[in-house]
């Protein structure tokens, strides 16, 4: 078959809702787009460990410590599945790490914001994981099989994290005035960056059309963002916190909340490396990788020695 008919066959399979597997023929651009998207997603999980990890040693109670440790550990696990899914497309984990550490690969910009109080751990679980789930639920039906399957497992854990984060916020909101203030301050700081997680407006997002065509994305950035706002506003109301948006209002006609304009200058500033923690996040990843090099080398050297010993024993 020539490329053209392969491509036609591929498009038919996509249209029929079939799942594309790693060994199937796929257009080079589809492969590259997936490597980029899945590895970015994996990087986001791994960099996402840092802002929450920042509070592990300072949790207020033992119960919260165990829950936070387990949560951050889950994110490492998500990173692992996703790197494995990307590896099926012909890239190694070391190559992906190299792209992350050099700053070539992107990760979700939200993790370049600092975690300043314990309430931020609640806000991240509630809002950041909440926003991530909306995206990820959509991705459980994405056309590339290994990615879709990784998402099914990840979504289960993420929705647990989201409930856990919301429960932290609920406890604070029902607590002393000082605790409530801490919760409100965290919501004020994390609300807008959470809305930015869905990416630029549809008219400014050139990749969306192709991604929708390939069923990588089944909804546009703006549709997903609207869904997040609609889900989250009643949750804030329920615990008595105020969303920091004066234009926020229920629109009876549309059946959705209207919300105010997003500060896209801030978004691009952070994407371009000038957020509060961009440099620190990358440095932490580079330090972990560089300081771990002798450990990884030792593990390989030791495994080789063992292998050689086995060979020697067998031939003796």
């Amino acid at each position: 078959m020539d490329i053209k008919s392969l491509e036609e066959r591929f498009n038919e399979r996509i249209d029929a809702g079939e799942s594309i597997e790693a060994k199937d023929w796929m257009p080079e651009k589809y492969r590259k787009t997936h490597i980029r998207q899945i590895s970015q997603h994996a990087h986001s999980e791994v960099v996402g460990m840092l802002p929450e990890g920042n509070w592990i040693t300072r949790t207020p109670t033992l119960r919260r410590k165990v829950a936070l440790l387990a949560k951050v550990q889950d994110e490492a696990g998500h990173g692992l599945y996703l790197y494995s899914a990307a590896e099926t497309l012909g890239i190694t984990r070391d190559e992906m790490m190299e792209q992350l550490n050099s700053g070539k690969a992107k990760y979700s910009s939200i993790f370049n914001y600092p975690t300043l109080s314990w309430a931020d751990i609640g806000a991240i679980g509630w809002l950041v994981d909440g926003a991530a789930i909306i995206n990820q639920v959509m991705l459980t039906r994405t056309s590339f099989g290994p990615y879709a399957r990784a998402m099914v497992r990840i979504c289960k854990e993420e929705s647990f994290h989201q409930r856990q984060g919301y429960e932290i916020m609920l406890t604070l909101a029902n607590g002393t005035p000082e605790q409530k203030e801490m919760a409100q301050d965290a919501l004020n700081r994390w609300w807008w960056p959470s809305l930015m997680m869905f990416g630029p407006r549809d008219e400014d997002s050139p990749n969306t059309a192709q991604s929708v065509r390939w069923k990588i994305k089944r909804k546009t950035n703006d549709e997903l963002r609207q869904q997040f706002v609609d889900n989250t506003v009643p949750q804030a109301d329920y615990i008595g916190l105020t969303i920091p948006d004066q234009d926020l209002k229920w629109n009876e006609e549309k059946g959705h909340y209207d919300f105010g304009p997003i500060d896209w200058d801030e978004f691009w500033q952070v994407v371009n490396g000038n957020g509060i923690c961009n440099k620190e996040r990358l440095k932490a990843r580079n330090d972990a990788w560089d300081n771990g090099e002798w450990v990884r080398d030792a593990a390989i050297a030791h495994a080789e020695k063992r292998q050689n010993n086995k060979v020697v024993k067998k031939s003796a």
């Binding site: 592990i56 450990v295 050297a301």
Partner: protein
Amino acid sequence: MNNKLYEYLLMLGDNSMILGHRLSELCGHGPNLETDIALTNISLDLFGQVRSYFQYAAEVKGGEFTEDTIAFLRKDREYRHVLLVEQPNEDFGHVIGRQFLYDSYHLPLLKQLTESKDETIAAIAHKSVKEARYHLRFSSEWVKRLGDGTDESHQRMQKAIEHLYPFIFELFQETDIEKEMKELKIGADLSRIKEESMTTIGEVLADATLKIPESAPRMAKGKTGIHSEHLGFILSDLQYMQRAYPDMQW
């Protein structure tokens, strides 16, 4: 009696807590994802044990005490862990060395405690002994990998062992409370633990092509509440929230 049992529970819980704390500092910074996950797992196991010990300690003590007031609201001189577990995460060799030396003590300790006449301690030990067995397997394997890996890893691992080994003797020095708990068959017999622990250490270090240091034991009085300068900084993290925002629900 109750007060002595309480103190004994603090000794058990504090070792797990301070070691778990040191491991938790590494979460997100491991040499690769697999070791990151494994070290966090060990930290989680240790904090699970801490909760069991301190919930029981709170019951023994009665009144207003809870697992959290015990964990977070004691003065530095009231912590009862050994100096080994507060040693910092200098590099991965030190992390593994500290873990291995502690595990080589922790496993035989828990094995004995499963026979404790105190049913709660026996039950906690019963659950924890499986975890400690896994921890020891993990840390021994890594001691061997690093000891018998590359020249650099060998040197680093040897250096870590040189630093940490002199701290293990404190684990086997019996305090009055440990002696009394042993006699009541509630606590463990440290001389028996020492024997098993030293055998494990000897075997694993030999396999790892590492030398047992000849240095003298470090002076260490952690069990009586005198620690190194590291503890103050550990506590300023650990206690931060409870001290800055007292008497609140979280």
